[in-house]
């Protein structure tokens, strides 16, 4: 599903160049549930943005669903995003003047689905995340957890193969975070690849595979079976902190 070979990325700010990704090799298969971890500045968000074709990279190669993503025209990138990918953000990124249903229906609008039809589909997806009764509410009338569930419904409506979630629980309290993770797990169970960025160990521990970044390189990849060790290590980290 995803294959990265020696991907480099640096940000140029004036005369300074910040080398964020220093050669990433990564392979993620269809149906995996992966979290990307790392301290701030380790390049985890940058990596996710490159994976989601929201940002470009300088060197190396990136294959998404068998297609090479490099120097893609904005139009083609937009189409790929629309068809293959769904996004969930830390700050929800709902459009403030559209109600829950309209927000969920938006990706279908860009596919040219008629209003009546897309609103009907949007209601189905809202129902799936348990927010059918909130369909006509504006984002500012909803709690953080509800907003994130609307955002998830929106990411699902175009039936993507991959969901990218950038700190999906970053703005939520623990119990709401677990609810959101439950929804993501369920999505994964339905065969959709889920890749999330987080810095919370308990959230990462709910995924099948953890990719730890350190200073722009992959430090280690922890598979499902090793999670116990990870828990242990996490405890140790807490002690030293």
């Amino acid at each position: 599903m995803i294959r990265l070979n020696n991907v480099h990325k640096s940000y140029v700010m004036g005369s300074n160049s910040l080398h964020v990704l220093k050669g990433i090799d990564l392979e993620i298969k269809a149906g995996e549930f992966v979290s990307i971890m790392g301290s701030s500045g380790s390049g985890k968000s940058t990596l996710l943005n490159i994976l989601g074709i929201l940002d470009n990279y300088d060197e190396g190669s990136y294959y998404l669903d068998g297609q090479l993503v490099k120097d893609m025209s904005e139009k083609k990138a937009a189409r790929l995003r629309n068809e293959l990918v769904g996004f969930v953000f830390q700050s929800f990124n709902l459009i403030s003047f559209k109600n829950a249903m309209e927000n969920v229906a938006l990706p279908l609008y860009y596919q040219g689905v008629k209003r009546k039809k897309r609103n009907k589909i949007a209601l189905e997806y809202l129902d799936k995340v348990g927010l059918l009764d909130w369909a006509t509410h504006l984002p500012n009338e909803m709690s953080g957890g509800q907003k994130q569930r609307v955002a998830i419904a929106r990411s699902l409506i175009s039936q993507p193969k991959i969901i990218f979630a950038d700190e999906p629980t970053g703005a939520l309290d623990t119990s709401t975070s677990y609810e959101v993770m439950e929804i993501l797990k369920e999505i994964n169970n339905n065969g959709i690849t889920v890749i999330l960025v987080t810095h919370e160990h308990d959230i990462a521990a709910m995924t099948q595979k953890i990719v730890r970044l350190k200073d722009g390189r992959i430090d280690e990849i922890i598979k499902n079976g090793d999670l116990k060790d990870f828990q242990h290590q996490y405890a140790k980290e807490l002690e030293t902190a």
């Binding site: 139009k75 937009a78 189409r79 990124n93 709902l94 403030s96 559209k98 860009y110 209003r115």
Partner: protein, 434 residues
Amino acid sequence: MEGQGGGSIMFDLDLWKEILSTLKKNRMRSFMTAFGVFWGIFMLIIMSGAGRALENGVMDGISAFASNSAFFWTERTGKPYKGFQRGRRWSYKNTDIEYIKANISDVEYLSPRLFGPRSNSGDNTIRGKKTGAFSIYGDYPEFFKIDPWTPLQGRLINEIDMRQSRKVVNIGERVVEVMFEKEEDPIGQYLKINGVYFQVVGVVKGETRVNIGGGRKTETIIMPFSTMQKTFNMGDDVHFFSVTSAPGVPVSKVEARLKELLKERHSIAPDDQQAVGSFNIEVEWKKFTGLFTGIQLLTWIVGIGTLLAGVIGVSNIMLVIIKERTQEIGIQRAIGATPGKIILHIVAESVFLTVMAGYIGLALGVGLLELLNMLLEMNAGSGDDVFFRNPEISFTMAIGALSVLVFAGIFAGLIPARRAVSIKPIDALRDEGI
């Protein structure tokens, strides 16, 4: 699933629904954006209408007047010549008129005039117990070809009246009011002018407000030229005459030619500048049309300027909006909106706003002009002195203004739209907004 192609923009109902709901949900913003354009087009319409009204008002008063006419009168001579002293009084003679008619082919109509008993030295017209002071002229029937009059009752003075020197008169409306009772029919009745009885054969109304010899046109009495000359012992004098040039001949050329001829016939120095008084309406006409072209041009310049300010305002506000909406645009792009679609949205929004605002400005402007027109008509009444008439704008101008608006809208939307898509989606998303 297929991404949507270009499709037809105008009939994409969904697009319009989307735009409408966006605008509706940002009412204040939409209103402020639209106001600049509204004001621009509103001012353009009002100014243009007012300019046109002034033109109509003035032109109405003179348009029926033959624009290729010139007028001649006599002044004292300014130079000694052939034994005559300077300051000599002289006048045109019947023979001058006959000579010009026979020999100068560039003259189309020639109408001599006599000024009758003066109105400013007391009442000159009597009928029973009623008296009045009017301007009295002796004219050729040709006069009606140069400065048109229409008979309201009866007929105009004609060639036969002329030839037989009949004692008949045409009178203006005010003369009827003063000299006759309300329900009296003036036709066939007699008026005593300076001691002589004349029969009224027509009540006439001047089509123009131009008046030669002063006074009001409604207070005019016109009789045949020959009648006046004989009745009031004027010999073969001619006080004044009007000519029109033949088609294709500039009247100024005829004017110069006639002046030369008249000087020669009356022993006046060829370089005497004051003896032959003349006035050429072509020149005045050109001044008028030049003036109104100038006013219209100015209106357009100021109007377009105002409109441009409005458009730049829209573009500016759109730019601010785009900045405000950077995150929204980022979200839209993250979930699959193509740059084309986003440009289309912003431009369509801008065009919709400008055209709507422009249309409202147009409608309100035209409405105000109509209202003004109604009030003017009501107040004007007979309205001889109104120099402001029929404020209006042409259909072409309205259409022109609207198409300017459409282009303006595209222009106003395009710059912010291009800016919006030049931002990378990821930067747009990072932008802290909402």
